[in-house]
Amino acid sequence: MAAMGGNQRQMMEDAAEDKFPEGLRVLAVDDDRVCLKVLEVLLRHCKYQPTMVMDAKKALKILRAGKEQFDLVLTDVRMPDMDGFQLLELIGLEMDLPVIMLSVDCDKKAVMKGINHGACDYLMKPVHTNELKTYGSMFKVGEDPKQ
């Protein structure tokens, strides 16, 4: 680092800061309380602002109400009532939000289904902090997620 010019160093420092921007507003959906509890703390440790809900219909209600703005949705695939794929589809139709699927299985068909329906990523549980941190740089607050 000492060999670098001042500008380069500044750029790298900026990039390092950009990597983990604070305040990414995440809506996380999972019917499993244990998963949700761990995920919430993981998201806080990434310095994100998580909102946790236990069912997809409630998540949609919150999103449609528009009172709270979100940058990213994380959703479990398998949920009773409305599953993650249905939620993904509705979000894709009604709003411009990146959605990431979470699942205990890495079933190829399910992954393809998720991607074909517009999911930005498909993560296997248990999720790790370093996986979540990358989204901060991808979906920065205020930036167009489709870029």
């Binding site: 244990v34 998963c35 509890k37 761990v38 703390v41 549980k125």
Partner: protein
């Protein structure tokens, strides 16, 4: 010192839980999430896990009785239980859940019954061991999160 001894016992118990495959790395991640704001986070999560998993186990039992050979239904319930197991690193229990799901896939009712008994057994064993572990930690006194097995 009494407290140091208790902490050593807790660390030793945790090491054996890893060595015997009851827990995996995910449990460490849960403990690592503890901080000053939530010093008992791991115990809270584990407590929640056993509350919810007990209910799920009962659901599966009832489903097996009420809906004989409805392997899809049984499997769906077990999927739920597996999800929770992943979250706390309940490795052995998770393996038995997978065996159950395999039996469902093979439409093997007897296999399902056998593996379900194993799931229940692992559930009970893990509960007892983790209760002991957290009790030791509580007795050892407040403060530092337990260290990882093998680390200083």
């Amino acid at each position: 010192m009494e407290y140091a001894n208790l902490r050593r016992q807790a660390a030793s118990l945790k090491r054996s839980l890893f060595d015997q495959g009851y827990l995996d790395e995910q449990f460490c991640q849960v403990e690592d999430l503890q901080d000053e704001a939530s010093p008992n986070f791991a115990e809270e999560v584990v407590s929640l896990f056993f509350k919810d998993s007990a209910r799920l186990v009962t659901n599966i039992e009832q489903a097996m009785e009420k809906y004989p050979k409805d392997f899809n239904r049984w499997d769906a319930h077990m999927q739920q239980l597996r999800g929770s197991c992943f979250s706390i690193g309940a490795s052995k229990m998770n393996n038995e859940c997978t065996s159950f799901r395999n039996s469902c896939g093979e439409e093997n009712a007897e296999g399902c019954r056998r593996t379900f008994q194993k799931v229940k057994r692992e559930h009970a064993i893990l509960r007892q061991k983790l209760e002991s572990y957290f009790q030791l930690l509580r007795q050892a006194g407040p403060a530092r999160a337990a260290t990882r097995p093998g680390s200083m």
